[in-house]
């Protein structure tokens, strides 16, 4: 057989390569440059395409899909505006280490650089917001590039990868190249196995701790469900306290007595004070983000720090650590447990008892308490009730960004990994709803809820059209306070309550809006009716928008004001007068 006879078009090769990479779903939006791909998709039935209503939503949906399954999320958009609209989603995925392969159309190779219609320098624009990107200039490179892109996206510290595909490359013909297993990249070889000597040292440090704390982040989730199991096992073996970052929620079961809740700017009092006062900190898969550390100069001053990360550039970036360990969280935890079991170390029970006693006094402050008001729904109460009704159901939570996100992190409890999808690093308003669509596609029978604010939800509200088309029973639970709540909170705290542009005037009627898109709309004003509303929402097998009218002035506490240290938290509204924010803190975001 001559090669010409077996040769297929670039578009067909691409679809074949995606199927070989075990892709089941692609989130996308068509356009001129990608028409050959859409034609190839039309002619087969292995690959499912979900038509979104905006390219940003395609990436967030793929993120939700990826985060809830552990697979690579795939996006397909056209050239020019298709690609530039995807940029926010790509940056979001980069910041939160979510594996994405984004296929972008491009004008034909002979027109590149000519300012052709719908041309953009996609590889140039996406270079700083992807883990890696490719411009495929010849059809002969196409299949190999796709396989490499999937490997890069999912291995090491995961992240988004863009493949820019000129239209002539999609139409030219070539033979298919199947993926090689195992992949051996010529230069990219992330270290997954930890150095055994360092594991020994770590176990030694952990065993001798008097005031230890485990601080676990999104790296545990990215490493796979096994990492969460191992973390839980190791933490229970040691009897030490553990806290999770926003991205790490679910890595350790929230109902466990050893769990201190989330740490950081809106973390619990006990988690932050334990971080501040510990003598050995065991960071696994977290990156000492500024939302976690607060004032770096005052961050956990008396502790020896162990930092486990698959990305060497995360180590010693913000905080100097005493024992860096490069490796995959699963492999590191496996080794630590093995060494721990072999050595059977005697931990300092007396010191640990005193440490736990101290932690219990912090816990007794009940930092998440809030004041109820008759006739008003407090946002915290709404989430408590929501959790009460969903906790025994197979559920997934996504959020937008702002106060509601922090309350969701505080008041919803996560017992398992991959159940919590939120935009942590980039803080993208408009993330949660499309992410929920992606989760629902991956888990058709599960209860998927986007906890939203009325401002954030408007940033990708057009996706109601998508959930209607695919009959995705996503629930949008809006905590509507008619403010950009977090902006208003900061203006109250830092700018003399001058609420510049943070009030949402002319909000739509969310019930009618839902109905206009063919979804169901519910509204609730009174605390007494909240339970019924939530029950109705859960019972409905449609997409539902729930407009919960909550207290307009409620603020999110506890809070470490910017520039302050962990032991300098505001516990509630009455706390703020005593502790004005420093000028240094004002500069920080």
């Amino acid at each position: 057989m001559k090669p010409e006879e077996s040769a297929t078009t670039g578009a067909d090769l691409l679809v074949k390569a995606l199927i070989d990479e075990e892709v089941e779903v692609v989130f996308g939006y068509p356009g001129g440059a990608v028409l050959p791909i859409y034609d190839s998709i039309f002619k087969q039935n292995r690959l499912r395409h979900i038509l979104v209503r905006h390219e940003q939503a395609a990436v967030h949906a793929a993120e939700g899909y990826a985060r809830s399954t552990g697979k690579v999320g795939v996006v397909l958009v056209t050239s020019g505006p298709g690609a530039t609209n995807a940029v926010t989603g790509l940056t979001d995925a980069l910041m939160d280490s979510i594996p994405i392969v984004c296929l972008t159309g491009q004008v034909p190779t002979h027109l590149i650089g000519n300012d052709a219609f719908q041309e953009a320098d996609t590889t140039g624009i996406t270079r700083p917001c992807t883990k890696h990107n490719y411009l495929v200039k010849a059809v002969g490179d196409l299949a190999r590039t796709v396989h490499e892109a999937f490997y890069v996206a999912r291995s090491g510290r995961p992240g988004p990868v863009v493949i820019d595909l000129p239209k002539d490359v999609l139409m030219n013909k070539h033979d298919y190249v199947a993926p090689k297993k195992p992949v051996q990249h010529k230069s990219y070889r992330p270290q997954t196995k930890p150095d055994p000597k360092k594991i020994e040292q770590a176990v030694e440090m952990i065993a001798h701790a008097k005031r230890p704390i485990f601080y676990a982040g999104g790296g545990i989730i990215n490493s796979g469900p096994k990492a969460s199991k191992l973390l839980t096992q190791f933490v229970r073996m040691t009897g030490y306290p553990v806290t999770n970052t926003l991205m790490g929620l679910g890595a350790f079961p929230a109902s466990d007595k050893q769990f201190l809740g989330m740490l950081g700017m809106h973390g619990t009092y006990e988690a932050n004070l334990a971080m501040h006062g510990c003598d050995v900190m065991i960071n696994i898969g977290a990156r000492f983000d500024d939302r976690i550390t607060g004032n770096l100069g005052k961050f956990s001053p008396g502790s020896k720090k162990i930092h486990v990360d698959i990305d060497p550039s995360s180590i010693n970036k913000n905080v100097r650590v005493d024992l860096p360990i490069v490796g995959d969280a699963t492999l590191v935890l496996e080794e630590m447990i093995k060494v721990w079991k072999a050595k059977q170390p005697k931990t300092d029970q007396k010191a640990l008892k005193a440490w736990w006693a101290e932690i219990e006094t912090w816990r007794a402050r009940n930092c998440l308490a809030y004041k109820s008001e008759k006739g008003t729904i407090k946002p915290q109460y709404a989430l408590e009730r929501l959790y009460h009704h969903i906790k025994d159901k197979d559920h997934y939570i996504t959020t937008e960004v702002g106060q509601h996100q922090m309350w969701a992190a505080q008041f919803l409890k996560f017992e398992q990994p991959n159940r919590w999808m939120t935009s942590g690093g980039l803080g993208t308003m408009g993330y949660g709803f499309p992410a929920a669509m992606g989760v629902q596609i991956a888990h058709p029978d599960a209860l998927v809820i986007d906890v939203a604010g009325e401002a954030s939800i408007l940033m990708n509200i057009q996706e109601l059209s998508t959930v209607a088309q695919y009959r995705l029973p996503v629930k949008i639970f809006i905590l509507n306070n008619q403010y950009m709540g977090m902006v208003r909170q900061w203006q109250e705290l830092l700018h003399g309550s001058r609420y510049s542009e943070s009030y949402m005037e002319s909000l739509p009627d969310f019930v009618k809006l839902a109905e206009a898109f063919g979804a169901k709309g519910l509204r609730c004003h009174e605390p007494e009716k909240l339970d019924d509303t939530i029950k109705e929402m859960i019972a409905l097998k449609h997409p539902v928008v729930v407009d919960v009218i909550v207290d307009q002035k409620e603020n999110c506490f506890p809070m470490i004001p910017s520039g302050a240290a962990h032991n300098d938290m505001l516990l509630g509204p009455d706390d703020k007068a005593q502790k004005p924010v420093s000028e240094e803190g004002m500069v920080l975001v």
Binding site: G124, R127, K131, R157, S187, Y188, P312
Partner: protein, 168 residues
């Protein structure tokens, strides 16, 4: 304790592919690192590799971060900090154009001889000198030419290599 910034010469072996230089330079500008000197050219035609030599400055923590960030770029094969990994040599080449006549012209030629600079172009009223050496020497030579009719300077930036038999 405030850590002091110091200058480091870093060699990076990369795939010679489109966009690689933009990736490296973008990393530096995006993360706010300094580039004092940058040279790049293909060094291995068979494997299609290029060698980038970067002189940068920062505190030890920043330098460590720069190296880790470079190393995680997908087309990067190796990153070596020549400044900390043992003795190394650095060279730079400059082309220096001087326009003068009479005494000044003679003096320029005499100094060029002292600095072992070669004349690679000559007209009745101008010279182009080629001078190589470490950056200090090149800088000194350029400085001396300033009073003798300097009109143009082109410098390559630093290329560097470790001493001894070891490969990058």
């Amino acid at each position: 304790m405030q850590e002091l910034a110091s200058s480091h010469t870093i060699s990076v072996l990369v795939d010679n592919e489109p966009g690689i230089l933009a990736r490296v330079v973008g990393l530096f500008s995006g993360r706010g690192y300094n580039i004092e000197s940058l040279t790049v050219a293909q060094t291995d035609a068979k494997e299609n590799l290029s060698r980038i030599t970067i002189v940068t400055s920062g505190t030890p923590m920043v330098i460590e971060q720069i190296k880790a960030q470079l190393d995680r770029l997908v087309p990067v094969h190796r990153v070596r900090d020549l400044t900390v990994e043992g003795p190394h040599i650095e060279r730079e080449l400059a082309l220096v154009k001087v326009k003068s006549t009479g005494e000044k012209r003679v003096e320029a030629l005499r100094l060029a001889d002292v600095f072992r600079a070669k004349v690679i172009d000559a007209k009745t009223d101008s010279f182009v000198f080629e001078v190589t050496g470490n950056s200090d020497k090149v800088q000194t030579f350029v400085g001396l030419m300033e009073t003798l009719g300097l009109v143009d300077v082109g410098r390559t930036g630093i290329v560097a290599m470790s001493r001894g038999a070891e490969q990058l």
